[in-house]
Symmetry: C2
Subunit: 209 residues, 2 copies
Amino acid sequence: MLNKPLIFQGIDENEKKNLLNSLQSTQVIFTKNKTIASYVNNSNLIGIIEEGQIDLVRYDYNGDRTIIEHLNQGDIFSDIFYQMDNNETSLIATTTSKILFINYDDIIKNPNKNTNKLIENLFNIFKDKIIEQTIRIEILTKRSIREKLLAYFNKLSKENMSKSFNLPFTYSFLADYLSINRSAMAREIKALKDDGLIKEINKKITLLY
Amino acid sequence: MLNKPLIFQGIDENEKKNLLNSLQSTQVIFTKNKTIASYVNNSNLIGIIEEGQIDLVRYDYNGDRTIIEHLNQGDIFSDIFYQMDNNETSLIATTTSKILFINYDDIIKNPNKNTNKLIENLFNIFKDKIIEQTIRIEILTKRSIREKLLAYFNKLSKENMSKSFNLPFTYSFLADYLSINRSAMAREIKALKDDGLIKEINKKITLLY
DNA sequence: TTAAAAATGTTGCAATTGCAACATTTTTAT
DNA sequence: ATAAAAATGTTGCAATTGCAACATTTTTAA
């Protein structure tokens, strides 16, 4: 993984403790498949994933599931980012996850010398999220299943700095993340193999171009 | 339009002048259809649209055009957000646009009492961009042309606080923004009219549900 | 350990979407 | 004002994708 910005990067342990106290922060652990709700609704809290993985999932009226966002260690989520009708979407911990919640306004509206580094870090985390979302939009706007898959594989290849990488999803989730039909995706992955563009063994992909 | 955060919100004119001087800011006007390039490549600059509209456009090898982002007054863009292979994408002013460029590091890494309000505003602008991108992802992950159109119409309806609104695009651009085929989209808009879900006269849409 | 649940691979068929072509209208540039 | 360019509306046909069903494998939970 490329160097991901972290909230307490460059802040020593003492300083970190002081900040955590002054910022009304809370650490919460969510076990696998738990929904993260009460902590984030209209709270102005920002959740930072210290360990684990979180998916923002939408279930449409017809039963289609869509992974709106797949979040890893270092990523953030917050109700301040979601202004849509949230009734059909929910945040789910896909593995046991340790989340640090901090209050957005506390940091932004009361800056002081102690929070300077924290603010710089938070900016970089916001920036990182914008980059991630831009890449996601680049992928989703590809016009065919094949191009979506290849664009996503390229992203993973870069992150891993290797032509080989493991998919972080089941195929079922991957299809719902790329917003395509699972069996049509399976068909296309087979075609990519037959065409000699990728190797694929057990969710380990190798790009052959 | 809902209240969009602005970079100098709550900062008086004198203060604003001082800030602009200390921040190496530049104001540049781009006439219609001009490409914005030299100002943003590897520059660490953030462009803020004071007037006009900017599209981030990708042309795929096969000729498909995709509008990755459609940016309005108050929106920002920056090379710090785009980490992909940028060779096939470009920023184009779709109307004559007045852009204020400021240096990201200047603000973030040298905070002081004078920049507090500016930092708060910039956070809100970043936050707003994350919200916009999340909504865009929500739309792009819809599974059919009809659902993409309806999700996008809902967004416009909310922004305008009305069931009626004008499309900010030509139909040709709208199709490339939703990443769908233009004539298939035209077919579906006709179907939406026939099914009594919308009225449409001359790019003015009225939702009938 | 073992039964149940979930994920995977596959395929024929149906539905949606893309494509190309063209006529017509609207916009742009000189 | 006028010619050229761009946008729009439409349609038949082709290609892609979705859907449903099922067998098989893998994972999960008691």
